[in-house]
Symmetry: C2
């Protein structure tokens, strides 16, 4: 076993999820994530935790969803009962085919997604962490060799998380103190004003101790409402379909128009899921400079230094004032805009924070 798989497992169990003796841990294993699952099981044994392994198979889901008549009963009592007993849920992604469920209809997906809302909420009340094990399918999607992709993944994951958390705390402070974010790109249909008053930004340092649930991470995010318009120029695959050059226009925080050069119907499907899917749940600012390229995997792309992402749908409680419920939805879909273009600015309450993708505290800032 590549020694980095064991390091990955150790980072996940100790730094990210903070597993302790006696914890009950659900381990969700993707079809291609077996080796990481074995390393994680070893760490959980060492820590004296108890684990329950779930098989997260897109091929099973596809077969099930296509065969089902589409009338999904609400509830999923069994998963509610499961996650209710879990202290942590570790999702080990790692698909063998990124298009494994490309032929499941949007309508079926949405109906199924809605029926699972309660179990999703209970799962998100645990100390959950999502990570990814490198597979050939993911390497292919990134346009990289398998060995090259493994290097990329472990460079992004096996970092000095304490040092990055320290750097990110600066931006968290600015966003916590601020009430309005403006993102403007020259020569592009992006001029977005986001209200973040009263919201708390999360210093997402890849640990539940920071309210951060992704490994790798390296972003600061909050829950905004938006006006104006924004162009997402980072291509991505959503639900097995390519989405390119998406554009959203907002009025009173709600999407009133949208388009995309490719994948417009998938974008429409997301927006039409429910009322919450028409509003933003997240503004995230990527700060992981260890991620040096777009690989068409949201877990990595959205953390890339010099990008900003917005999510349609569900907001995270961590960003909200105590007791306030934020934007609620069955979806949470991130869309990314690259800020590393000339004439691009990110301002908080009028103050320049980032120009052309470079933060004002970074060396290259001009």
């Amino acid at each position: 076993m590549d020694s980095r798989i064991r390091e990955h497992a150790e980072t996940l169990v100790d730094w990210s999820a903070r597993i302790e003796s006696g914890d009950t841990v659900v381990v969700s294993v993707g079809e291609g994530a077996h080796d990481l699952a074995v390393a994680v099981a070893e760490k959980l044994g060492e820590r004296g935790a108890e684990y329950h392994p779930v098989y997260a198979s897109p091929e099973m889901s596809r077969a099930y969803l296509r065969a089902h008549d589409g009338d999904f009963s609400d509830g999923s009592d069994i998963e509610v009962a499961l996650y209710d007993k879990a202290d942590s849920v570790l999702s080990l992604r790692g698909t063998r085919n990124t298009s494994a469920s490309a032929d499941v209809s949007e309508e079926t997906r949405q109906a199924y997604g809605k029926s699972r809302q309660e179990s999703r909420e209970v799962r998100m009340d645990t100390d959950w962490v999502s990570t990814v094990h490198p597979t050939r399918a993911l390497a292919q999607q990134a346009g990289m060799s398998y060995e090259g992709y493994c290097d990329f993944v472990y460079d992004a994951i096996l970092r000095d998380w304490e040092a990055l958390a320290e750097e990110m705390s600066q931006l968290k402070q600015i966003l916590d103190d601020g009430s309005e974010v403006r993102i403007h790109k020259a020569g592009d249909e992006t001029d977005l004003t986001l209200s973040i008053a009263g919201r708390t930004a999360v210093n997402s340092a890849a640990s539940v101790a920071y309210d951060s649930h992704n490994l790798p991470s390296g972003e600061v995010f909050t829950a905004p409402t938006a006006t104006e318009e924004v162009r997402f120029d980072v291509p991505m695959t959503i639900r097995g379909t390519q989405l390119r050059n998406a554009w959203l226009a907002f009025e009173d925080g709600e999407v009133v128009d949208y388009s995309a050069d490719q994948g417009e119907s998938v974008l429409g499907g997301i927006i039409e899921t429910d009322n919450g899917a028409r509003r933003l749940g997240e503004l995230g600012v990527g700060m992981n400079r260890g991620i040096d390229r777009v690989t068409d995997q949201i877990l990595f792309d959205e953390k890339m230094g010099g990008t900003v992402h917005l999510a349609l749908g569900r907001a995270y409680d961590a960003n909200l004032p105590e007791g306030e419920s934020g934007n609620d939805s069955a979806v949470h879909t991130d869309l990314i805009t690259d800020m590393r273009t000339e004439g691009t600015e990110l301002r908080v309450d009028g103050e320049l924070i980032q120009r052309d993708g470079v933060f004002r505290w970074e060396e290259d800032f001009e």
Copy 2:
């Protein structure tokens, strides 16, 4: 996908588990059982059932058990909660290495097995069914080519279960009416008297409708107590270790002496698990003539026509009078004796039922 995989899934879901719309089904997926899992998910979708997939990975278990300090807390609340919500549990076995956990100590296995007792009981209160998907590892263990092994498996599984159930009902009647079974083999240390008074035999026709939980099946079994001695001449692999020519001697229903040409320590480990492991939980009579050879896989071997098996450990409630609790144990280990040797008899209350492995109602009976 081999069309027999879909037929297998259909037999499992419809004939064996009798899944209906709205049922909640746990699907436990072995490392090598992915293709069957996809076919089962499709059938569950068609039937309108809900499913929760569990990843049953011996490599994860091995890593966990070897890393753990061995002090397992009782409870496994999370699995109790899970199985408590399940109507059915479908275990799709199919290992990629039959020796995957050969280097886990007996002591650790036993301690872990004991700590899981409650969740095992709750699981066995569901309509559970175990089946196996053919893998190259299982073919290798059987000493067969992969294609040849697939033919063997589907010949055993895709049978006329209604007709076999009809034939087996004869033996069930004899055992239900009888109070003493005697198994005697000439020139072998086997002369066993088993008390079965008051016990109900199960016509194990591979369906929960018959209190039968294995696919394939094809045996009639009951819960006995034993005296004298028995030699098990069918070799098998138990917990990754070869067991050959095991021998047990009983007094007052309890094992008082044992030996084996190979694997004696594994046999000892089983017997020493707990008090119930020293007593018999099952007498089973194989009646599936579609299984024509020993493949070192208990799910098949114990159903083979012309064999008899005895299990050390836990008895099935279905064999017991209402309200009576039978032999209780953390283990249930089947051992097989081949009756197809000259001078072998199986009698119930003195009456000859089978000679040299041939039932008295079969053509070849002399």
